[in-house]
């Protein structure tokens, strides 16, 4: 009898710990929405649609988040364009072409990359990449969207590689065998059979990588120059949503319009990453990868 009680109690405790994840997610949405909601009441959400982000001003503050969104978009698109060839190329190489010992060494080494703190990568970007971009392209400053995109592409690569590799490895061996038996070469088999069969997983991998890129804060804040302008030119300085929150939250007065506007930026960020992740997870579970 006593034993049965103990069993029940333990099950209840474990159930309670499992519920904390749900509580945290709900808490994140509630606490962001709380501040954003107050912004919607007082200056109104229309304020956010402006094209000028001037949160501190003697005349009139302006909380248009469009330059921040375009800044994040520009960096994300550039980073994705760089990540795709390297991420896919490397995952195909590691899973299909590398010798077994080579693979055993390459995989943990790229895993190390995932472990390097973003502030260290940002620091490396600041002392190596930024001066390099400045001299290579003859710019007045190397603090550009391009610098941010290169660092971010690099940071997304471990995610993309590990998931696309799973996808490539889950292609049935019989597909490859059939292709080779028909006389196709190794490369023809890889590009015409294996990669197309693994494509949904590779797409999901790229999307998860993009989710990481949009949400990345420190590296991007250190190298993009943080000018809140609307631009599509890689050699301009941009200010991303993440960098805006990180740089300005320390100086705002609690409860001010600026404070609440930053929570609105947080919501946009959360919704964007949430959407990307959900679609990617749907694809992965549909094709039973990972």
């Amino acid at each position: 009898m006593k034993l049965a009680w103990k069993e029940k109690a333990i099950k209840l405790i474990l159930l309670a710990t499992a519920s904390t994840s749900i509580l945290i997610v709900a808490g994140i949405f509630v606490f962001l929405a709380k501040e954003a909601g107050q912004f919607a009441i007082e200056p109104g959400l229309k304020e956010l649609l402006g094209t000028r982000w001037v949160p501190v001003s003697f005349q009139k503050e302006s909380f248009g988040i469009l330059p921040l969104i375009t800044g994040s978009l520009l960096v994300t698109v550039l980073a994705t364009l760089l990540t795709i060839p390297f991420g896919v190329g490397a995952s195909v190489y590691i899973s299909e072409l590398a010798r077994p010992t080579e693979r055993e060494l390459l995989k943990p080494f790229i895993e190390i990359l995932a472990g390097i703190p973003s502030v260290v990568i940002g620091f490396f970007g600041l002392v190596v990449l930024v001066p390099l971009i400045k001299t290579c392209f003859g710019l007045s400053t190397g603090l550009t969207a391009l610098a941010g995109a290169i660092l971010l592409a690099f940071m997304a690569i471990p995610t993309v590689i590990s998931i696309s590799e799973d996808a490539i490895r889950s292609v049935p061996a019989s597909y490859k065998a059939a292709s080779l038996a028909l006389g196709a070469s190794r490369m023809q088999t890889i590009w015409k059979v294996t990669v197309p069969a693994a494509l949904p997983g590779i797409v999901a991998a790229v999307m998860l990588g993009m989710g990481r890129v949009i949400g990345e804060t420190m590296a991007v804040m250190m190298v993009t120059g943080n000018a809140a302008v609307i631009t599509a030119w890689p050699f301009d300085s941009v200010r991303t949503m993440t960098a805006t929150i990180a740089a300005e939250m320390g100086e705002v007065a609690f409860g001010s319009h600026h404070y609440r506007a930053l929570f609105c930026v947080g919501i946009v960020l959360l919704v964007a990453t949430f959407g990307l992740n959900m679609i990617a997870q749907k694809v992965l579970s549909k094709y039973r990868i990972g």
């Binding site: 710990t17 499992a18 994840s21 994140i28 502030v119 260290v120 620091f123 993440t242 609690f254």
Partner: protein, 283 residues
């Protein structure tokens, strides 16, 4: 003939791509070790910073990061392993289970700065902890929770079903089975995940920026309600906020090296542990 050439070129192209990634990783590590090592001394590791971090050491940042990591693990480990045990041993396919899994996937994708906003709103302001170690630890714990859950669950599922069935057939209760026959075999695997979580917590800057980190505070914390300095934030401050950034470059490299060494050592431990487990248990 031509096909063979194309074949070989493509293969080489992909090899070059892969190894260029390896090259960049190696050059980041080497650059920081090469420039950081000369600036590291006993004084640097054990002294208080002076003149806004331009001179002296980084002791408070090292201590701060250690406190944050320990506190984070103390919160996240019981919650994470508890959730993993529930999901792997107890959960039946139900709406609740699906919701828990959805929540974990969502948490894993939330940007770190958004965790910072959440920590600021809930722990710092709503619960009134202020910018303090406890706020920082709780925020970081929310962030690493999915890492610990996912790897712990994997470790639990790797234990063969027959071990559970044998124990249950002998009349042991469910919890006795889990405690005596499942956990002992899965603890190394669960540890791997926690170690990876530690590495993440030690290196992350954005969440602690809003919840705990002090810009410059040359003393050690006395209670969990004090602010602390932390290694990643200290590096950020030295690299971008210091008025004379070029002059403190050696200090920047040395701080980066200490942080990198800490995080890589932690991750390496996790990788080695995993290799050992794979060799030891071949079910």
């Amino acid at each position: 003939m031509q096909t063979a050439t194309i074949e070989r070129t493509t293969c080489w192209l992909m090899r070059v791509m892969t190894f260029s990634i390896v090259f960049v990783i190696a050059s980041i590590i080497l650059k920081i070790v090469w420039n950081g090592l000369p600036a590291i001394s006993w004084e640097f590791l054990t002294a208080m910073p002076r003149q806004a971090g331009a001179e002296g050491g980084i002791l408070p940042a090292i201590v701060g990061t250690l406190y944050l990591v320990l506190g984070t693990v103390a919160v996240a480990l019981p919650l994470g392993t508890g959730t993993a045990i529930y999901l792997s041993e107890y959960a039946k396919p139900s709406r609740f289970t699906r919701t828990v899994r959805l929540a974990i996937v969502t948490l894993a994708g939330v940007p770190s700065i958004v965790f910072g906003l959440f920590g600021l709103g809930l722990f710092v302001i709503f619960l009134g902890f202020g910018a303090s170690i406890i706020s920082g630890c709780l925020t970081l714990a929310c962030m690493i929770l999915p890492i610990i859950i996912v790897s712990s669950e994997e470790a639990l599922r790797a234990v063969p079903q027959s071990l559970r069935e044998g124990s249950l057939a002998l009349g042991a209760t469910k919890w006795q089975t889990i405690y005596k026959n499942v956990l002992p075999y899965s603890i190394p695997g669960m540890l791997t995940g926690s170690i990876l979580g530690i590495g993440r917590a030690a290196g992350e800057t954005a969440p602690i920026l809003l919840t705990v980190a002090a810009f410059y505070l040359p003393k050690l914390p006395k209670s969990v309600f004090d602010q602390v300095m932390a290694l990643p934030y200290h590096l950020y401050v030295l690299a971008t906020q210091h008025p004379d950034a070029a002059k403190v470059r050696p200090m920047q490299y040395a701080t980066a090296l200490v942080l990198l060494a800490l995080v890589l050592a932690v991750n390496l431990a996790a990788i080695l542990l995993r290799v050992r487990i794979r060799k030891k248990h071949k079910w």
